[in-house]
């Protein structure tokens, strides 16, 4: 649920929101000021697009001005050249922009980081060149003039003040939607991609689709802003939609705070208004204006160094300090965790057949066969470098096998992506704990519950209930709303387990689950594993603590140099001379 806003605040906010755009009706405000705010409002809508793609999803987009431009030119060319209505033109521009955003989002299938930055810049540059040079269509540097105002329900919005109210209304709708988004299924998926894309993928989030949607939304919002801008100012030219403008949008969202729509609005106001305010400085302080532009750049660096969450981040931090302590979570009425895995039949849950994984010349895994029986705890051990972690990564889908198969139940999953395997009931935890650090424990676990085909009801309520049950199972129901990076290490481990349990797994892959736990925590962990097995869960784990492995495992497979060297019950395996030699080594003849 989005954070509760107390009634008085809500009322105050509503009053201010409604009153602000109506001020010009009551008081004498120059046309210039009204237009300035029109510009700020339309820019803010575009900047909110960056909040979605960059702030929420963590993807860099240096082409927001291009999308802004597509919306603007859509309206301009549609109405002036094509004679269409404003709304149809806006829709057309938005459609083209969203399509472009979708295409850019698809490039993330292969590329991230710098490459993505470059692709968005390339798109921005190409569009800029087209706008300037395709004179037959876009009128080139001369721009397009005479863009008409729209009429809304028969009411012509010719008056600047009326148009401002209209734009403000659109902005408010967008702010509300963007504010609500993080608490939806999609929003949580976006944030998980930003925090830890690999973990998100493994836990069942369709990361590519999430990124594509993020880009599409960003483009859509950019286009809406641009379309409204064109309608407002009656004249547009390519100058307004270039790389410099994209950088300006980016600066605005970083300054204000990319994680929040309020930050986006604040940042836009500052970036747009600042040069204006500086114009009105008294003579003695006039030098600040000259220096401002230069300082602007340093400001960006300083924000990155000192204020990574922007101004809104500061405000939030201050509020957190002043706020009352968080309400204790109501843990009554939390249903016990349900472990039924529908469609369960006999036979091994996991089968690995002749599996190999080579990295160039290195044979990390060299033809292994393992069967994990239903309802058992099966450990994979071996000295450092024996191929255990690589095997687990192949089973969970992070690597493609060089040869061999991975069977989950009766299904061959060897070529499925990790989120698809999660959708079939394969859950996995990581050795170095991959939680979504800025999300709460509950939100982390809810992402786990979001995996495809999870047999629970649709809707946030069902997700929440499932997540609370999982947290209760590991004993952390009362810490549901704590941000996980503030939890102690042992509790973080438990949240990771709860996250995977929320997805109704039929196979649990645990990668060194006891790493970093002290003796007491390890004992508790052994208990937890036993309880899980008691509920019929199948567990496949890697660990180095043989005492623990011996206590919990039904069966152990030992690897060395990528091959299986022993398999059997703990008693058999841990006394096997080959296994002892593999671990302790042989003295041999030292020459």
């Amino acid at each position: 649920m989005p954070p509760k806003i107390s009634r008085p605040w809500l009322v105050a906010l509503a009053i201010v929101a409604i009153a602000l755009p109506l001020i010009p009706y009551r008081f004498e405000v120059s046309a210039y000021v009204v237009q300035m705010f029109m510009q700020a409002v339309t820019y803010a809508i575009a900047v909110l697009g960056l909040v979605v793609v960059l702030g929420y999803t963590g993807q860099i987009n240096l082409a927001q001005a291009a999308f802004f431009g597509l919306g603007a030119y859509g309206v301009a060319l549609g109405t002036v050249t094509g004679g269409w209505s404003f709304w149809l033109s806006l829709a057309a521009g938005a459609a083209v922009a969203t399509g472009a955003g979708l295409a850019l989002g698809l490039t993330t299938i292969r590329l991230g980081g710098h490459y993505l930055a470059m692709i968005t810049i390339s798109f921005q540059q190409i569009l800029d060149l087209v706008l300037v040079n395709w004179i037959e269509v876009t009128r080139g540097p001369d721009g397009v003039a005479g863009i008409p105002r729209p009429s809304l329900a028969g009411f012509e919005l010719a008056d600047d003040r009326a148009y401002l109210v209209f734009c403000a209304a659109v902005l408010y709708v967008v702010v509300f939607a963007v504010w609500w988004l993080p608490h939806t299924r999609l929003g949580r998926a976006m944030r998980s991609v930003r925090e830890n894309e690999l973990a998100a993928e493994v836990v069942g989030v369709h990361t590519l689709r999430t990124k594509v949607v993020a880009f599409s939304l960003s483009a859509l919002l950019g286009a809406i802003g641009g379309g409204l801008y064109a309608g407002g100012f009656a004249y547009i030219s390519p100058d307004n939609f270039n790389f410099a403008r994209s950088v300006e949008f980016l600066t605005a969202v970083l300054l204000g705070g990319a994680q929040s729509p309020f930050g986006g609005v604040i940042g836009t106001l500052l970036i747009v208004q600042m040069p204006e305010w500086l114009k009105h400085l008294p003579e003695s302080l006039r030098f600040i204006k000259d220096v401002y532009l230069a300082v602007y750049g340093i400001g960006v660096i300083l924000i990155m160094v000192f204020l990574p969450e922007g101004i809104w981040g500061l405000i939030k931090a201050a509020r957190a300090r002043l706020a009352r302590p968080a309400d204790t979570t109501d843990t009554s009425g939390v249903a016990p965790l349900d472990f039924d895995v529908p469609g369960a039949a006999g036979g091994p849950v996991l089968r690995v057949k002749a599996l190999s994984k080579h990295f160039g010349g290195l044979k990390a895994v060299d033809g292994i066969d393992i069967e994990v029986a239903r309802g058992s705890v099966h450990a994979l051990i071996g000295p450092n470098g024996s191929g255990k972690t690589t095997s687990l990564n192949v089973v969970s889908g992070i690597y493609r096998p060089t040869a061999g198969q991975v069977m989950l139940g009766e299904e061959d999953v060897s070529l499925l992506r990790p989120h698809q395997r999660a959708g079939r009931g394969m859950g996995r935890t990581f050795q170095n704990i991959r939680l979504f650090s800025t999300l709460s424990a509950l939100e982390n676990v809810m992402v786990g519950a979001q995996r495809d085909r999870n047999p629970i009801g649709r809707g946030n309520r069902a997700l929440r209930a499932r997540a609370m049950s999982a947290l209760a199972f590991v004993g952390l129901a009362d810490r549901a709303h704590v941000i996980v990076r503030n939890l102690p290490y042992g509790h973080q481990r438990l949240v990771e387990i709860a996250r995977v349990l929320a997805g109704h797994p039929r196979l649990l892959l645990l990668d060194e689950p006891a790493a970093g736990l002290n003796q007491t925590e390890k004992m508790e962990f052994v208990d937890l594993l036993r309880r899980l097995r008691g509920h019929g869960l199948t567990i496949f784990l890697i660990d180095h603590d043989m005492g623990l492995v011996e206590k919990v495992s039904d069966r152990i497979t030992v690897l060395n140099f990528g091959r299986k060297i022993a398999e059997g019950s703990p008693q058999e395996v841990l006394r096997n001379p080959d296994v002892i030699a593999a671990y302790l080594g042989t003295a041999g003849k030292v020459n």
């Binding site: 292969r110 470059m118 540059q125 060149l129 980016l250 750049g297 990155m304 990574p308 690597y399």
Partner: protein
């Protein structure tokens, strides 16, 4: 930010026309002319790309302000040579000293505070540096582009109907020398080896006692000077302007991706290739969209072969 009012960078100069010559020879000569110019422009891209790649290898930082190093170099020459009237050699040395100092400032002001953060804050930080540089220069020099006089005794030489502009020849020669010099430095000296070691495994270099912070400083200085030289070289051809760095940077970045991200040879080959592609496309297809070809080429590479010509495969995903 002011729009650059000048004719587009590197408009091919129409080659001398000789009515006695056969059309096919004429066509060949024209193409050679264009290729020659393309190589010269490509050399500028290559120099900037080289500096760019050196920083990436040493620090993993993608420096969006790299092109502005060239802009700074150009303006430094405008200051010392045009405005103050110093002799060319002295002005050049002064400009390079300014660039070296700037490299140090950039290292400590932009890279150092963010060296442990993820790539996004650093990238944005370099964008901020770019904005700062452009606006500072704007405040000092004003928005009008400044000319840098050609100081060469001859305009150019004529080889078989192909006119070789002397400034372009100088660009090619200097680039060749610098590439050679860089190669010798990195391959033959111990300091060069230490710089390479720092790029390949920073922590291991520290364990051996290599002063990694100093190595990074040196890399930034070297990179800044390379960029500055590019600006000085290209100044006489196209005026020195605030925005010249941005477009060069983007093309240099494109060149490194085409050549193979992070690969030194790739940066140079990519730069030259890009210059030639751009010039040929402008000549044969259309001039106004000249800049687009670079980005189209980049787009294609990113989709089809993101590792570029010399790069290793981008890491696999399941």
């Amino acid at each position: 930010m002011p729009r650059d009012p000048l004719p587009s960078f590197g408009t091919p100069r129409a080659p001398d026309s000789d009515p006695e010559r056969k059309p096919s020879v004429e066509a060949l000569t024209n193409n050679l002319q264009v290729i020659f110019q393309g190589l010269a422009l490509g050399s500028i891209y290559a120099l900037v790309a080289l500096g760019f790649v050196l920083i990436i290898r040493a620090t993993n930082v993608v420096n969006f302000a790299q092109g502005d190093f060239a802009m700074l170099g150009g303006y430094a020459m405008v200051l010392f040579f045009s405005a103050l009237g110093w002799p060319y050699a002295l002005a050049l040395v002064a400009a390079l000293v300014v660039m070296a100092i700037f490299g140090v400032l950039f290292n400590y002001g932009v890279y150092y505070p963010l060296r442990h953060r993820s790539f996004l804050p650093v990238l944005i930080s370099t964008l901020g540096a770019s904005i700062f540089l452009q606006n500072t220069v704007l405040a000092v020099f004003g928005p009008q582009p400044r000319p840098l006089e050609k100081t060469l005794p001859v305009d150019g030489i004529n080889v078989g109907g192909v006119f070789l502009d002397s400034q372009y020849l100088v660009i090619l020669a200097v680039t060749l020398l610098l590439v050679l010099g860089t190669y010798l430095f990195f391959e033959k000296t111990l300091l060069g080896k230490k710089l390479q070691a720092t790029s390949q495994d920073k922590d291991m270099a520290r364990l051996l006692g290599i002063p990694v912070a100093l190595m990074i400083s040196i890399t930034f200085i070297y990179s800044a000077v390379l960029g500055g030289i590019a600006g000085v070289l290209v100044g006489p051809i196209l005026f020195v302007s605030i925005g010249m760095g941005s477009i060069i940077a983007l093309k240099a970045f494109a060149a490194t991706i085409i050549g193979g991200f992070g690969d030194v040879t790739g940066a140079i080959v990519g730069g030259l290739l890009l210059g030639v592609i751009e010039s040929l496309a402008a000549y044969h297809i259309s001039v106004p969209y000249k800049d687009a070809y670079a980005f189209l080429a980049l787009f294609l590479f990113l989709l089809v072969r993101p590792q570029g010509i010399f790069g290793e495969k981008v890491s696999e995903k399941a």
